[in-house]
């Protein structure tokens, strides 16, 4: 079930936040954040909320479900 996201765009809108910095803020490795950003790994709901909270956005503005 593909989950698209706008993390890359949001990182740049938030002062070019690096993947490493965002990963540290939400408590995952940089490789995990890269996998999420590339839509290769779908985060748990808890992690998705943590990422959305960093950007101060509701969940559906960060992650979108893409029907197959």
């Amino acid at each position: 079930m593909p989950i698209r996201n706008n993390i890359r765009k949001l990182r740049f809108e938030h002062g070019e936040l690096t993947q490493q910095a965002l990963a540290e803020k939400v408590g995952v490795t940089r490789q995990t954040l890269i996998a999420i950003e590339a839509a290769k790994y779908s985060p748990t709901l808890e992690l998705a909320f943590r990422i959305a909270a960093i950007f101060g956005k509701p969940l559906d503005e960060v992650f979108q479900h893409e029907p197959e």
Binding site: T29, Q31, T32, A35, P43, T44
Partner: protein, 146 residues
């Protein structure tokens, strides 16, 4: 390739297990085909293989630890590890059942093959195969993202 400490560790274990145990089982197969599969030779080969793996893994892990930032396990690591354990578990179960069924059906046909040492080596092969599947699944999971 940008790899985490855990992915590098998985590669280290996969490569060293293959490098050590493929020649080990080739040697065991050679002994078996020559009718020389006796306990003292097998024990020496096994101890040598285990020591070789301990040394290789230790050296590799020290190099990785010095060159790679270590981070706590996150949810993706846990998900990948769960899948790797599940695949390894089924590999071990299937291999051991094949060993048991093979013993039951082949023992009357090839009685010369069935010895404690031979069956022990097949059991060890099952464990090593499940380890290879475990580390291989870890590496595959990290490479594809999940």
């Amino acid at each position: 390739m940008d790899m985490s400490f855990r992915e590098k560790s998985a590669w280290a274990c996969l490569v060293t297990t293959g490098v050590v145990f493929v020649p080990y089982f080739a040697f065991i197969a050679q002994l078996a085909s020559n009718g020389e599969l006796i306990l003292p030779r097998v024990v020496v080969a096994f101890v040598a293989a285990v020591l070789a793996q301990i040394v290789l893994v230790s050296v590799y892990m020290m190099v990785i630890a010095l060159r790679t930032r270590q981070e706590p396990r996150d949810e993706r690591d846990t998900a990948i590890e769960s899948r790797a354990f599940r695949w390894a578990h089924w590999t071990l179960v299937i291999a051991l059942w094949l060993l048991v069924l093979g013993g039951v059906f082949l023992a009357p046909v090839f009685p010369q093959l069935i010895s404690v040492v031979f069956v022990g080596q097949l059991a060890l092969l099952s464990f090593v195969l499940s380890e290879l599947v475990h580390y291989g699944t870890l590496v595959h999971g990290y490479r594809r993202g999940y």
